[in-house]
């Protein structure tokens, strides 16, 4: 240690074994090793090794009770040719397209409205955030009740508009939109928080200048806020999309992939392949498809982040 040698320069050569041990123990590299060994080992086991093992499994036929057998690209060929597997990819994209634009727009509007001096601002923020902290299982149970064809709240409200009762979750055409509805409801609060932070970074004088130039609130929102928020919007779109890819609980609780496979998304297909049909190799290949889709989105995400900082 620099300080110690300055105090006793002539004793530098004669440090005791205990002292040297302490210095080694206190050296930055050793402390770093001490602090990182457990977290890094766990992350290797839980994150890094599984990626490679999953890749290997995707080239095998593996039914859990027999050792995996290498079959090359057979699982991927299956995904490309099997109509249910292909539909699961299509449904995932359909889910995304229905939920992300609308959900993001609503979150942005709510954030913009909340970005003013309002009474009860914190109360509003709390209320909008409540669906986010509620678990998927609880949200799904509440909405199963709301979607109920006979006594459900949704049909009751639609009755005022003269719309006849629908069967929602068991209607092949409405099942996916119903899940989209719950997803948007559960996501507005989280995305709103990110947008609120982004809005705070918009320089006030720009908006003020536009105001002086005669732009109304709507024009300012469209022509200043949205362009300046572009990186944040991109960030929300990407993370929101990934969260939809991961959305398993809602499908398990509400539709189990049905009716007619209309809500069978990739994550559900993985679960069914592995834990219902014990086709681990096929499930691994489906997971890899999911990983590639997430990876593409992540690259976009990092671009957005760089833009956000730069």
């Amino acid at each position: 240690m620099a300080i110690a040698s300055r105090d006793h320069p002539h004793r530098k050569q004669q440090v005791s074994f205990g002292r040297r041990l302490y210095r080694f123990y206190n050296s930055q590299a050793f402390v770093a090793f001490l602090f990182l060994i457990l977290p890094v080992s766990l992350l290797i086991i839980l994150k890094i090794y599984p990626i490679f093992y999953n890749l290997y499994l995707s080239f095998t036929r593996y039914e859990l009770f027999e050792p995996p057998r290498f079959v090359g690209l057979r699982n991927y060929r299956y995904i490309a040719q099997n109509s249910v597997a292909r539909q699961s990819i299509w449904n995932t994209l359909l889910f995304t397209v229905q939920a992300v634009p609308l959900g993001t727009a609503l979150a942005l509007v709510v954030a913009k409205l909340l970005d003013e001096n309002l009474y009860g601002k914190i109360m509003f923020r709390t209320l909008y955030y409540l669906p986010v902290i509620s678990s998927v299982v609880v949200s799904a149970m509440i909405f199963r009740w709301i979607f109920n064809p006979q006594q459900g709240l949704l049909n009751y409200f639609l009755g005022f508009l003269g719309i006849p009762p629908q069967t929602w979750l068991s209607d092949p055409n409405l099942a996916l939109p119903s899940l989209v509805m719950v997803t948007i409801w559960g996501s507005i609060g989280g995305n709103m928080i990110i947008f609120l932070a982004g809005l705070q970074d918009i320089p006030g004088d720009v908006l003020e200048a536009a105001k002086v130039d005669g732009a109304n609130a709507f024009q300012r929102f469209l022509q200043i806020t949205i362009p300046l928020m572009r990186p944040v919007i991109l960030f929300v779109v990407v993370t929101f999309t990934i969260s939809i890819f991961r959305n398993f609980g809602l499908i398990f609780m509400l539709t189990q992939g049905g009716p007619l496979n209309r809500t069978n998304t990739l994550v559900w297909e993985v679960y069914m392949s592995v834990f219902a049909n014990l086709r681990l190799g096929r499930g691994a290949a489906l997971s890899m498809v999911m990983l590639v889709m997430v990876f593409i989105l992540t690259i976009i995400n990092f671009r957005a982040l760089r833009e956000r900082q730069g």
């Binding site: 206190n26 402390v31 086991i45 890899m288």
Partner: protein
Amino acid sequence: MIARRPNTSKPLTKHVPKLLTYIVLSLGAAAMILPFIWMLSTSVKIDSEIFADTIQWLPSQFDFKNYIDAYQQTNMGRLFLNTGFVTFVSVASQVVLGAMAGYAFARLHFRGKNILFFSLLATMMVPFEVLIIPIFLFVRAFPLAGGNNILGQGGTGLFDTYAGLIFPNLISVFSIFLFRQFYLRFPHEIEEAAIVDGCSRVGVFWRILLPNSRPVIATMALFAFLWSWNDFLWPLVVVRSDSLNTLQLGLSLFNQEQGTQWAELMAASTMAVIPVVILYLLLQRFLTKGAVTSGID
């Protein structure tokens, strides 16, 4: 004098945008909490009111028996105990390991630091759902557990055990990232002064940095709590015995068994969300920062 002009002389149209804002926000907020209000209202209703032809917003009588029924039928005491235990261990582990690794990455110099950090950070983007097969196989083949030999064969490893339930939740990259960001901004002078005074680096971390990390610890604890408490897919996959069921798992089974026993289902849901809502209300000021950093709910 002009500034003291009473408000009423302002043209009424000035207030319209603000009023509109309130109306839109209130409608949105109503849509957000209506499901919860409906849950509460249903949970205390008697069946004849639930299945009545017209919607009854408020029950004519409060039937708290639904809560007792739901509690007993789901064995909810056990569910709370299991979930509480799993959540507590997960939160503690994610906070402590995250703080340790975050400190090492922010404050210590060693070879390969940046490469290591950024490769770990990159794994944050790999969703758990994608890796569930290899992680499941690893847990099942855990050496010397559940009848397994040292090579992890012969038994079921950590499958259907608390350890298996907790294992994937022991660490989060997000926690490491959050603590690193915090420690990067922590003043160096305090740390240096302590080292000059003869404090070891481990001591600096334990006595100075950790006690001063309360905001990050609160943020991280809240996130870890929400993830662990609300986790569903992993318990579904790794638990077989009823005695090991978590709250979410127990609720989903109850949901399948009960079909249309809405009062009991809603009573069970209410009991499951209340701890989360209370914790959120207590810690919500810590949540914003974390949500913004992570971009995940």
